[in-house]
Amino acid sequence: MDKFRHFIQAAWAIVSNSFIAGWQSGSIYRGELKSVCLPGLNCYSCPGAWGSCPIGALQAVAGSGAYQMSFYVVGILSVFGITLGRFICGFLCPFGFIQDMLHKIPFVKKINSFRGDRQLRWLKYIILLVFVLILPMFAVDIIGEGAPAFCKYICPAGTLEAGVPLVLMNELLAAAAGWLYRWKLFLLIAIVLLSVIIYRPFCKYLCPLGAIYGLFNPVSFYRFRVNEKCVSCSLCTKACKMGIEPYKTPNHRECIRCGDCLKACPHGAICKGFEKK
């Protein structure tokens, strides 16, 4: 399951960021496909990106001055969410894939849980509200436009996928990089280092896209079910790197559908699939 999942993750990351000319010239794709949002956190300023980041697009519309609430982006996020939930985090997010790979690096002690872990999970909802919705809508400039606060101050995916390659390939951008670039680089390095020790720290504590998809997990068409074979042995809980109890809450908002619990269950008590009845 892990190899299959990583293959899908790698394939999707490559396909959705395969605009070769952008990688060669340090520019970005400027075609009509950019009006379509990708399901995962994928910066639209990544030189290879064919589509838009849904969180970036949400902030762009919210801060445009013309509209505050984006029906278009909320609709697209809802279509993705109601169909797949956080399956997208587990299979179709390039930044999630990078964190998965980083966590495979051996370290003396991997941390599965710590004091305050549960409380810290709510931080991503605060980030969603404050940095993705409220600040772009209400912290506006003289012409009524708001900045994409999440992209500007937090998003490590933007730094990794767009900031680092563009600054390396473009002298003008390199000359313009200042304290904000250094702050975002610091955040990225912190998340990279933490990812080696903690499984997907960005997804667990900071990602507003994961927060949105998590709300859809209990109602999405794709879901997990625990059947009558379950003996509550908790082996699935021990296997879960997202720190949930799959045998109690198989559709918990933190579940990224990685399938580790299915693999760990000796009784085949957890099933996955699309809801039919």
Binding site: R30, Y44, S45, I82, A162
Partner: protein, 51 residues
């Protein structure tokens, strides 16, 4: 066994899906796609940590 009994009718999910599609259509109708594409085809200075 303390399993969560959470029954969600697929009809509820279907209603949300229909609503979501209606949102997308309404967003396109009022021209939000143009805002998205305009932002996305230019290098986002905020995203890369310059703006």
């Amino acid at each position: 066994m303390n399993k969560q009994k959470l029954f969600v009718s697929p009809w509820f999910s279907c209603v949300i899906l229909l609503l979501a599609v209606a949102f997308v259509a309404f967003g396109i109708y009022r021209g939000e796609m143009a805002v998205v594409v305009q932002k996305a085809i230019n290098i986002c200075l905020e995203c890369i940590g310059i703006g």
